[in-house]
């Protein structure tokens, strides 16, 4: 069922490093008739604390969930890690299996003046597009099909895994949702080696060398397939592939030049939104211009070149 109104949960990374992701999401959502409510008290989802102190992480997550519940809203996330963790804690309440943890969380929430009953659904924006709005309806908004453009989809990890908390909306071993979302823009979704490889972002802070080696593997695999761009749906994956791409190029003496687009940016292009004003492509670290020029050529115009 499509709901018209959602609480938009930005989390930490999108708030500071993902204005291109946020803006393109908001503009695409406006076109599709979805309304976002911004809850100013939303904080970190809690996930980064899970490895340090489980109890703090749980209460952080539950507080965010309680804020949405008291506003009567379900949550849309843009960060897959936020989505995974908030969903995990929401399921804890919905399944009512771990009574001790629930009791602890409720006690702490009460002391903070909150109450959570488990009545909030958490969904990734890409999942809402795929599952709730649906491919058929989305297709009606495509006015500039990206014909012949080759896009490598990067699912990331927490969008589909652990699969048991995501109601089987996609297969964790052979996922299709992002491929189908890419195809509906008219672009070709390319297949490449180790497509489900993790970006490495989860250990960037503790071991940068190992982390970027993981990132590099996928850039190599995508380069081999001559992709015009990669598309992804998690701000941390974007840090690794977009922000770190030039570092990886100089460290490993290689050249990739692979533009990294958030999926709403890609969809926005096919919906005819303005690359600069609506999709903030200038915020992408690897230049998107070659891709925009290629799209311009498809339509025999030069509008994208001007703006980028």
């Amino acid at each position: 069922m499509i709901k018209q109104k959602y609480a938009l949960f930005l989390g930490c990374t999108v708030s500071v490093k993902g204005i291109n992701y946020e803006l393109s999401t908001r503009r695409v959502a406006e076109k599709l008739g979805l309304k976002f409510v911004d809850i100013p008290e939303f904080a970190c989802c809690g996930f980064p604390l899970n490895s340090i102190h489980h109890n703090s992480a749980l209460v952080m997550a539950a507080r965010n969930l309680a804020l949405a519940e008291s506003n009567g809203l379900d949550i849309i996330v843009l960060c897959s890690a936020c989505g995974g963790y908030l969903t995990e804690v929401q399921k804890l309440f919905a399944d009512k299996k771990n009574k001790d943890e629930m009791k602890y969380i409720n006690e702490k929430l009460k002391e903070l003046g909150y109450n959570f009953n488990g009545g909030v659904k958490v969904k990734h924006f890409a999942r809402v597009l795929y599952e709730d709005i649906g491919l058929d309806k989305l297709k009606k908004f495509i006015i500039k099909p990206l014909k012949g453009i080759k896009i490598a989809p990067h699912y990331g990890c927490h969008y589909i895994k652990p699969s048991k908390i995501f109601d089987g909306f996609d297969d964790p071993i052979l996922p299709q949702s992002l491929d189908k979302l890419v195809e509906l823009t008219g672009a070709t979704s390319i297949q490449y080696k180790d497509k489900l490889q993790c970006c490495g972002g989860g250990i960037l802070a503790v071991d940068e060398e190992t982390s970027v080696k993981m990132t590099r593997q996928k850039l190599e695999n995508i380069k081999e397939k001559n992709a015009d761009a990669m598309t992804l749906i998690c701000p941390f994956c974007s840090i690794m592939y977009d922000e770190f791409q030039s570092t990886i190029e100089s460290t490993f003496e290689s050249v990739y030049n692979i533009p990294i687009l958030y999926y709403p940016q890609l969809l926005g292009l096919a919906m005819g939104l303005d690359p600069k004003k609506d999709l903030a492509v200038k915020q992408n670290q690897v230049k998107v211009k070659p891709l925009l020029e290629k799209i311009d050529k498809l339509y025999g115009v030069k509008e994208y070149v001007k703006t980028s």
Binding site: C44, C198, I203, E209, T210
Partner: protein, 179 residues
């Protein structure tokens, strides 16, 4: 944290050095429940994207070490912090050991024992200060207004209260003592 050579290659382990209760301690920690199910098939390690670039992180070996009772070696190690949390092993483990959660359980115990890498510790400091992992500065809000999207609170003070009420300060203070 100190860098250690891989210990299993270097020395003989005697029964006396083993803490046979460690696996029960891990099993009691949230996320660690299924540790004893492991039959060492190695699916986790062959599917691990971290292992593919850095063999210091070997989930199969870490689980074996826990089951053997190499408590200190595991809790003081750097390698327990190298899991990227991708859930590849979690999805494929034929014994449903839930390794991603298991690593989080082991890290929680390690932190309580005073072993926390500096970058992890700074997560707590930053969250206490801003309520987010990154600071939303005036500049960010100027950009946001220009793009026509709502401003963000630069700090969310309530996060400090959450951390206090859930005793994270005690956990971190304990790790200060041992530095």
């Amino acid at each position: 944290m100190t860098k250690k050579k891989s210990l299993l290659k270097e020395k003989t382990i005697t029964m006396k050095e083993l803490d046979s209760s460690f696996k029960f301690e891990v099993a009691k920690e949230p996320g660690g429940k299924n540790i004893k199910r492991c039959f060492s098939c190695g699916t986790c390690t062959v599917t691990c994207p971290v292992f593919s670039v850095n063999d210091k992180y070997n989930p199969r070996k870490i689980i074996r070490m826990i089951l053997l009772g190499l408590r200190e070696e595991v809790l003081k190690s750097d390698f327990i912090w190298l899991c990227s949390g991708c859930y590849s092993c979690y999805e494929l483990c034929p014994r449903d050991v839930k390794i991603t959660n298991l690593m989080i359980a082991v890290r929680n115990i390690a932190v309580r024992e005073g072993n926390i890498p500096m970058p992890m510790k700074s997560i707590v400091d930053i969250l206490q200060k801003f309520g987010r992992l990154l600071e939303v500065s005036e500049f960010e809000n100027i950009v946001r207004l220009k793009k026509g999207i709502p401003e963000l609170n630069p700090t969310i003070p309530e996060v400090k209260k959450v951390l206090k009420k859930t005793d994270i300060e005690k956990v971190i203070r304990n790790s200060d003592k041992d530095d």
